[in-house]
Amino acid sequence: MKGLTCLSAMLVGSLLISAPAIADPQSDSDDVRAFFQKRFSNITLEDYADGAYALNENARMQWEEIEEFPPYEDAVDEGMVLFETPFANGKSYASCFPNGGIGIKQDYPKYDIETQQVITVEFAINQCRTSNGETALPYGQGELAYVSAYMASTSRENLINVVIPDDDGALAAYEAGKKMFYERKGQLNLACATCHISIAGGQLRAEITSPALGHTTHFPAFRFGWDDIGTLQKRYAGCNKQVRAKPFALQSEEYRNLEYFHTFMANGLPLNGPGSRK
């Protein structure tokens, strides 16, 4: 009986939620922006590239001081050396990317129609390695993050331009990422959207939660908590763990789809990575 009540209540519930039948990424993004614009009417779209520091003057001043002697500089230098060092077969990273890998980060993640999957910069770096007979590198930090940081540094100030091609697979990948962003998870039963949309700008323990808009502009980022440069997906895993949800593997299909949705939202914002964060 109770089961029946639940079932019918859910049926009514699902009728009430008039989900748009066709995904419309552009209007999704417009809605998120309108939401934030209303909540934080004193900051501009570009300011979102600075995360929580756009919302708090004190935190911002401390951060600007740190950025005067960027803690990620060594990582970028090392990334450049790695990027330019040829593989054993004589080829290099440059051979795998458009424009030799310079100034291209704004176009990622990309959807590859042929293999029907989302390609992030980090995923492409390892694809490049393995297709040239090198071993794949760990995705969270270390050499791969340095190479990615160098590539990001050559793309500074370029405007994010993620494209969702007119392809069912591409839209499905975007939708899967979107769903993941809004799903409550973990023992604490919280969604990305809870902290980074609903209560964004609020204080969570010692931290101000940043708006989801602009999250992806400055990665890989140096975090004092990591004492190193780390990738965006390392942060995803960290946020999953915070709510006691088991994280997905870095560069799994799930996280790449999430990054696709998450970055599309930031289209038009300037890249400013690598950045530093507490």
Partner: protein, 119 residues
Amino acid sequence: MTRNKLQLLLLLVASLAMLTACIDSSLANESTTSKENEQALDIDTLIEQAEQALAEAGRLGFEWSVTSPLLEVAHATYKAGNHEQATALFNEVRLQSLLAIEQARYADENWQMLVPVID
């Protein structure tokens, strides 16, 4: 409050009530079965159920990070010969996994509730 917002709020309250009711009722069933488990179910069956539920939560992408470490503790406790404590632990693994599975089902139907509404 605009009509849209009111509708959303009502929906939110209704869904929360619904979720609680549904989880409560499934947990009520759980706790009777778990009592039964402690007495009647042999521990091997309980372990199998716990591990199956955990695998299902994982397959759905909703496994909690605390559950599999708990399973390890449960196995170690069992090995050490403390069957009563082990039973309680395996049962907790099973319950956490069932909640995670319920969470996946709930998310599947209600994830759009957190999408910002513009009016």
